[in-house]
Symmetry: C2
Subunit: 156 residues, 2 copies
DNA sequence: CGAAACTGTATCTAACACTATTACGATTGG
DNA sequence: CCAATCGTAATAGTGTTAGATACAGTTTCG
């Protein structure tokens, strides 16, 4: 799979949980929806669980559901849970003391990257899981589908 | 070094060139400022050159200088030149036709990531190379330094 | 009770990306 | 001619990620 698809997969999973609000969904079911391995999903769910975004239940008929209302969870919450921090990093090389540019660079870069992070955060916090779930409902309705009705919502 | 430090190094290099406006700076000199290998710098400069941001001159006393005025180059130009596109990617797995969420996910994610990219772009295009060069001048002045004056501006 | 279906980890592997380094041909100035 | 440079190729080492198998602990249900 693509490298660094964690955020995309996390949004997919969280949206599926929001769409199936209240139900306990298993990692194999989510894995089929994402088309990946259940363990990959469980690893991701571990991060989301430790961030307080989902609750898990063990045992048969176990699975995962959102820990909070989908209206109160934004993509920024998901992003923070699964991506450590900035997608860009500062090299941690020591500065070259003989060079004026090198000596001033670190704080300069830090402020640039911090501003970029703020921009990303502001963008992501505009979208809530409830928005995405609603869009899926709309897209599904507009598609000329349900003859069999009551399709398994995620898969299986 | 840190993975994905290309953007940070590119900003460092371009700022150094803006600070030494008009002069031809060699890749070994830039490499000392960044504390990395000259070839790493030359590879990066290749991307910046193909993007029309710098000009190179071969031969002894060769090197690189900005191709345009530092006032007309923003960090977005630098970003576009060295980072392909979005820091996040969509997995290219086929969707699960039996799942409503999976079927609607790709366009949804695409629009979310596109909006994030726009936010990053708007943030980066606010800063011009001339801004950074000026900040280095200010930082260097405020430091209680020049007794020896006329320090080699980059290094060596 | 016992089988079945989960979660949560640990571990291993293969693929991939990135940095660093060495090497070499071509170019240019002194 | 010689030295310093660019541009590029080839290679090695490192780190990250997804995928996959395995297994202990938990819970439901017949």
């Amino acid at each position: 799979m693509a490298p660094n698809s964690r955020f995309a997969v996390a949004v997919h999973v969280m949206t599926a949980l929001a769409y199936n609000r209240g139900e306990w969904i298993s990692s194999p079911a989510l894995a089929e929806s994402v088309r990946t391995n259940p363990v990959v999903i469980r690893r991701l769910l571990g991060q989301l669980r430790r961030a307080g975004l989902v609750r898990a239940r063990t045992g048969m008929a176990g699975g995962v559901r959102l820990a909070r209302r989908p209206e109160s969870i934004t993509l920024l919450d998901v992003f923070r849970a699964v991506e450590g921090g900035s997608p860009f990093v500062l090299p941690d090389k020591p500065e070259n003391k003989a060079c004026e540019v090198s000596c001033s660079m670190k704080p300069l870069l830090a402020s640039v990257l911090a501003e970029t992070d703020r921009a990303i955060s502001r963008s992501l916090e505009k979208t809530r899981l409830s928005d995405l779930a609603r869009e899926i409902t709309a897209a599904t309705k507009s598609a000329h589908v349900p003859k069999t009705a009551a399709v398994s919502k995620t898969a299986r």
